[in-house]
Amino acid sequence: MTEAGFLHAALRSRNLVLGLSLTLVFAAAALVSFLWTPYDVTQLDIPGKLQTPSASHWFGTDHFGRDILSMIMVGAQTSIAVAIVAVGIGMGVGVPLGLAAAVHRGSLMDEVIMRGNDLVFAFPSLLIAIMITAVFGPSALNAIIAIGIFNIPVFARLTRGAALSIWTRDFILSARVSGKGPARISIEHILPNVTNLLIVQGTIQFSLGILAEAALSYVGLGVQPPTPSWGRMLADSQTLISLAPHMALFPGFAILLTVLGLNLAGDGLRDILDPRIRRTGR
């Protein structure tokens, strides 16, 4: 697809436009919060605690009187950073593994990589986080490592599966006739043909990463106070839920809308990028 055709199709896809807009709102909130937030999130204001939403505090305040909107903006930094690094780990390790396994299909190396992948799948990121925390104590790094490790087999499998089908195509034979070796073919011919899949899977893993980070922080295995994080904020709200339900509502919506945005964007991208789906008009 040409660049102009891509842009045209992108603008026509309702999912993609809505999803990207939502994602951009939160990305912008995270970026702005580096420079400015309505209130300082480290500033406690005990007399002004548990205020309901008002003109001065749009989303109200928490049990320490901190401004919830400001905390959500700073929390977006945490969520996005953790998810980006975790997807980066997954792609950075998983894609080369998948490409290598496809080159040496059926070899011992392929077998070891794939069995290793299966094994990692038996450890949901929560279990990895539990083990790391039990030994090293809780930290944001745990969340990143735990989610990142779980992402590796996702990308490795996807890449291997797609690469295997591309290796059977005639243009690979052509490249071999021209004397190109497996590494060069993987980079020149295989990788460009799997990037679409990787982009789509990347957005999905990104949204799963945000969900996982929130869950880990919620149970105290991820980001530690005082760093604001959406999961942490929900954990704080739990005991006060009947007293101050707004504390639970806003961070929850932040997670919901970010993940929704990323998923919609992923679906939209898949519709445009996956020629198989485009052809059948689904």
């Binding site: 040409t2 195509r169 005639d170 243009f171 034979l173 052509s174 490249a175 071999r176 006739v177 021209s178 004397g179 190109k180 020149e188 011919h189 460009p192 043909n193």
Partner: protein, 519 residues
């Protein structure tokens, strides 16, 4: 009174007009061949009769099948008609059967849907029907699954499903296109026999004029959604009026104008080449078995000649190609190009290039034509210059500006030209054409064959022309090798081999190949 009558059939899908005023009749017991190239609307005509059209399809006109007004019929009437009055056989036997059901259950289903019989009786009748379709029950029990059968055998199951209730009309949509030539002949003979036995009407759809002309009573030629010519099969080549029909006959029997300029020195010699594949282990301890795909094959190609290598799928010709190109190691023998061993001396491989069959899979869709065509230069350690790319494109009848495009912007025939340009660009001496024209419509195929002949003269090229299609190889090859089960079983000059084959297998191949009456 006709069995099927189509009048003024128009079809549009999502507003795009596909069929325009299609008309023809089929009488009981008559075989009607419907011919057209891809996109001519022949398959959609069949699906209109079945009323199994894609979403968004709108039809008008009239289709009557033994009295039933198909276009006006309710869905329940259509369900009663499909399978009992009207059976259908599809092009792709590999995907036409449900992979998780046994063949017996799938044939019996046709009976169970339409008749109130017990499951046991339906199975017994399914067994009979499979026998009629030449799948004897002792070798192909009802409990077999589709993946345990070959393509030709699956196609017989599909036919059994279609004829289980002895329908009045059978529609066969390219039933043999995906099959080998000998299997094709068997399936066609089977269809003919069933039609005679049951006095069925048969609508035989094909892109191949020769396949249909042998068998059909009546021929309908379609182009761009319209019927352009109809006539008796036996006399159509004399009575034809429409220029497209004439072009079709001309292209099918197309003989490129060539003069052999053969020099006796061998360019490529293949001596006793053996290629084994390891089989998956069957037992944990025993040594892994192997399959000998190429078994002590020897031949020479002389400079300037075109050598045809003919064989059916699985005979080892693709494996041999890969060995000659140096892509796979060989387990015995020697391959030399211009006197140099291609396995120990990789540099000599720059003197040969290859063109593959699939015009859609031969190019990386993410690269522009300039990069695609320039790829062989990798072996020379430099990239192609603009001028070299332009020359290559011009020499295959394209324009220099095409180099900025992506491959999906080209038609099948144009892609095959680009594949030839890619093969030509580093000025090789030998080009291996691996089923290079097999996927093309006949008219396009004729153009590509002409191009190949012109290029061989202009550039002094030698060809190894690998194909399953005897008609094509006869028009272009100087000498022919026939391959079966990994061995070369017969070789000789083209005319000698065609006129007086010595091996029974060669004779069978030649007999199976459909032939057109001489125009």
């Amino acid at each position: 009174m006709s069995l099927l009558s189509i009048k003024g059939l128009c079809l549009s899908i999502h507003g795009t007009e596909i069929l325009k005023d299609v008309f023809f009749d089929i009488a009981p017991g008559e075989i009607c061949g419907v011919i057209g190239e891809s996109g001519s609307g022949k398959s959609l005509t069949a699906f209109s009769v079945m009323q199994l059209l894609p979403r968004g399809a709108e039809t008008s006109g009239e289709i009557r099948l033994s009295g039933l007004d198909v276009l006006a019929a309710r869905e329940s009437e259509l369900c009663r008609m499909r399978g009992s009055d009207l059976g259908m056989v599809f092009q792709e036997p590999m995907t036409a059967l449900n992979p998780v059901q046994t063949i017996g259950a799938q044939v019996a289903e046709t009976i169970l849907i339409h008749q109130d019989v017990s499951k046991a009786e339906a199975m017994a009748r399914a067994a009979e029907t499979l026998e009629r379709c030449e799948l004897p029950n002792d070798r192909f029990p009802l409990g077999r699954y589709p993946h345990e059968l070959s393509g030709g055998q699956r196609q017989r199951v599909v036919i059994a499903m279609a004829i289980a209730l002895q329908p009045k009309l059978l529609i066969a949509d390219e039933p043999t296109t995906a099959l080998d030539v000998t299997t094709q002949a068997e399936i066609l003979r089977l269809l003919k026999r069933l039609v005679d036995e049951d006095d069925m009407g048969l609508m035989l759809i094909s892109h191949d004029l020769a396949v249909v002309t042998d068998l059909a009573d009546h021929i309908v030629i379609m182009k761009d959604g319209e019927v352009v010519e109809t006539g008796e099969a036996a006399t159509l080549h004399k009575s034809m009026q429409h220029p497209y029909t004439k072009a079709l006959f001309e292209a099918s029997g197309h003989q490129p104008d060539r003069t052999a300029t053969r020099i006796e020195a061998p360019l490529l010699s293949v001596e006793g080449v053996i290629r084994d594949y390891a089989l998956p282990r069957t037992s944990l301890l025993g040594p892994p078995g192997h399959f000998r795909a190429v078994d002590a094959v020897s031949f020479d190609i002389r400079r300037g000649e075109c050598l045809g290598l003919v064989g059916e799928s699985g005979c080892g010709k693709s494996t041999l190609t890969r060995a000659i190109l140096g892509l796979d190691p060989i387990q015995g023998g020697r391959i030399t190009l211009d006197g140099r061993d291609i396995h120990s001396d990789a540099e000599v491989r720059q003197k040969m290039q290859v063109v593959f069959q699939d015009p859609f899979g031969s190019f990386n869709p993410r690269h522009r034509v300039a990069r695609l065509v320039g790829e062989p230069f990798y072996r020379l350690g430099r990239s192609a210059t603009e001028a070299e790319i332009d020359d290559a494109l011009v020499s295959v009848g394209l324009t220099p500006s095409d180099k900025y495009k992506y491959i999906h912007e080209f038609s099948g025939g144009q892609r095959q030209r680009i594949a030839i340009a890619r093969a030509l660009i580093i000025k090789p001496e030998l080009i291996i054409l691996d089923e290079a024209v097999s996927a093309l419509d006949v008219s396009i195929r004729a153009q590509i064959l002409d191009l190949l002949v012109d290029l061989s003269v202009d550039h002094g090229l030698t060809y190894l022309f690998i194909t399953h299609d005897l008609t094509v190889v006869r028009t272009i090859a100087d000498r022919i090798l026939v391959m079966q089960n990994g061995r070369i079983i017969e070789r000789g000059d083209t005319e000698t081999l065609f006129d007086a084959p010595t091996q029974p297998y060669t004779r069978r191949l030649l007999d199976a190949a459909p032939r057109l009456p001489h125009v």
